[in-house]
């Protein structure tokens, strides 16, 4: 049996490890664009803020490929996939045949369309190489611009503030984290960052950069000029799936997978940021581009590829953001639209130091936002993943002393 894994991120790594628990002999080839050892992608923002050194990024030992009997093919991307002949073609035109294929190519930063993107000092924040360049650029940077108020944008802004830069955050929607949290929690995050010296401009985007070799200013859609010597673009990510033939494999936003993480083509699985699975709390297909999902999907895809059928129960959005003294935890469908027929209950808010919001559909918990005291988040998460009808009152679920024992009969 010959397994080919495209992508050496956490999904690819967990898949290879799972395959090896069942198949010690089969050939495993891993194709990866990045040549660095498998590493913790979320940790790069900690390298940017200076709390962790770059050399702590790897999450597997230096002999990972060797000890797992994996043949690494690193430093280039797969550029095309021939489903009928079970063959992958790489950028340098070499071809690799497979019996089982895993697409674990993750995601790339959503590109910004603006003039003079080639100036120095303009970065995305996705890879260890990005952060290495950013850290090198810090010594000459004073004024930074961060584009995007999502999780990565906020982490970047927080990191640069901690490094002592003057930071301006540009967000297109009305408040930060608008995709993850409701307005109240978004406002609490914003207040905390403003209090620490962050400047925020809402409803604005950048149309061009100016500079001479390196960036000196950004020009917004309203025509104003924002001086800066460092820019981090964080406008979300897009699944890396350009090389996939859509006539053979069903691709929506991500590569669509079934409950065994198989794509619409037999023998081809997908896992991680590139995959689109059913979201448990939303009840529809969704790309949940998250580390825990990527790890679990990689593992389950690997087991299935090696011949042990294992069901993937579906994905769920979940995240924690810790900035200064504020912890924000979001779970599931935390910010539904009014037309979705959900009931939202909340307590606390700005000035209270604590906020809770629970989203219910009938008597099932489908979303939650916790600001501070987030330790019991996992208990709520388990209720959501298992879709257990609530027996406890929502006020009890939101109470400061809520704990696992409250769920016991």
């Amino acid at each position: 049996m010959k397994y080919v894994i495209l992508g050496n991120g956490i999904a690819g790594v967990c898949a290879a490890e799972a395959i090896r628990t069942l198949d010690l002999e089969g050939e495993i080839v891993m194709v990866g664009d990045e040549t660095f050892l498998p590493y913790s992608r979320p940790m790069i923002s900690y390298v940017l803020d200076g709390s962790e050194p770059h050399d702590k990024l790897p999450i597997r030992p230096a002999d990972f490929y060797e000890s797992m009997k994996i043949k690494p093919v690193l430093g280039q991307r797969a550029v095309s996939l021939d489903v009928e002949n079970r063959r992958v073609q790489l950028a340098d035109s070499t071809c690799i045949d497979y019996d089982r294929l895993l697409i674990a190519t993750g995601a790339d930063p959503r590109p910004l369309r603006a003039a003079h993107m080639d100036l120095g000092g303009i970065f995305y924040l996705r890879t260890e190489s990005h952060v290495r360049q950013q850290v090198a650029a810090l010594s000459t940077a004073r004024r930074a611009l961060v584009l995007g108020g999502g999780l990565v944008g906020l982490k970047a802004a927080y990191a640069l503030l901690k490094r002592g830069l003057e930071v301006t955050l540009l967000i297109t929607s009305g408040y930060p984290l608008s995709l993850q949290v409701d307005e109240i929690a978004g406002k609490m995050v914003l207040d905390e960052l403003l209090r620490r010296g962050l400047k925020v401009l809402v409803g604005r985007s950048v149309r061009a950069f100016e500079g001479n070799g390196v960036v000196r200013a950004a020009v917004t859609d309203t025509g104003s000029r924002l001086p800066c010597d460092m820019v981090i673009i964080a406008k979300g990510v897009l699944p890396s799936r350009d090389f996939i033939p859509r006539q053979h494999i069903h691709v929506d936003l991500g590569v669509v997978v079934d409950d065994h993480l198989q794509t619409s083509a037999a023998g081809i699985h997908a896992a991680g940021d590139v995959a689109e699975s059913v979201d448990i709390s939303r009840g529809c297909r969704w790309v949940n581009a998250l580390w825990p999902e990527a790890a679990v999907q990689g593992r389950i895809a690997g087991l299935n590829m090696a011949g042990r059928p294992v069901v993937y129960p579906g994905s769920m959005s979940r995240n924690v953001l810790r900035v200064y003294d504020l912890d924000v935890l979001t779970l599931g469908h935390a910010n539904p639209g009014p037309e979705e027929g959900c009931r939202i209950v909340w307590s606390g808010g700005p000035g209270k130091g604590r906020y809770r919001s629970l989203v219910l559909k009938d008597d099932i918990l489908v979303g939650a936002v916790l600001v501070n005291q987030v330790e019991q988040g996992g208990v709520l998460c388990a209720l959501m993943e298992n879709r257990v009808p609530l027996r406890l009152s929502t006020s009890r679920l939101m109470a400061p002393d809520f704990n696992f024992a409250c769920l016991l009969p």
Binding site: V296, R299, G377, F404
Partner: protein, 199 residues
């Protein structure tokens, strides 16, 4: 292999296990000196109140596979090969709290710890007292529990005892199984008190 087994019905909520745990995870390992340490050692077992205000000693179940281990963003959570204990390496932990979302029991806490890197908060949870066990002692929470709500034994032994108790209670003429009379009384009192307050 022996492990800590929780018998929730027996817990009287006295919380003795908590200071015992904190002491076991302090630098000096003596209650009197432990309370004077900075950072303060904190318990890794948490007695929570249930719906009827009854106690429940909540500690890490060392699940297999462990959701926190799969979730950890940095590979800081691993399984101790000899004892199968799920451990957190405080020097790899970045205190991101991702594991808080993964633990269905809510047993992970985040704070500076006497046994972790100085001046930094990290994720902290039960380590089955691996240090004490290596020295031939039993886990501190079990040693402290005076009502048998926490025992340290082979899982098989505990299961057999439980099966036997259930079987006995099913056979004719037997009453309710084996709760010490005091504990049973206390629980009934707590339940009725809460019902009264509600009513």
């Amino acid at each position: 292999m022996k492990e800590v087994i929780v018998h929730p019905k027996r817990c009287v909520g006295c919380m003795q296990c908590m200071p015992a745990c904190a002491t076991a995870h302090s630098r000096t390992r003596h209650l009197v000196s432990a309370v004077l340490e900075t950072p303060q050692p904190k318990p890794r077992v948490h007695v929570g109140a249930g719906r009827f205000n009854e106690g429940f000693p909540n500690r890490c179940r060392h699940c297999d596979p462990a959701p926190c281990q799969l979730t950890c963003l940095t590979g800081a959570i691993y399984r101790h090969a000899g004892t199968q204990t799920v451990m957190i390496d405080p020097d790899r932990c970045i205190n991101c709290a991702s594991c808080a979302m993964a633990c269905p029991y809510g047993v992970i806490r985040f704070h500076e710890d006497p046994l972790g890197p100085p001046g930094r908060a990290v994720a902290v949870k039960c380590d089955n007292c691996v240090a004490r066990v290596a020295e031939g002692q039993i886990p501190a929470c079990v040693e402290a529990c005076k009502v048998g709500a926490l025992t340290y034994e082979e899982r098989d032994t505990a299961m057999k005892r439980q099966t036997l108790a259930v079987a006995r209670s099913m056979s004719s003429g037997a009453g309710e199984p084996v709760l010490p009379p005091g504990v049973g009384l206390l629980r009934t009192m707590k339940e009725s008190q809460v019902q009264l307050l509600k009513g």
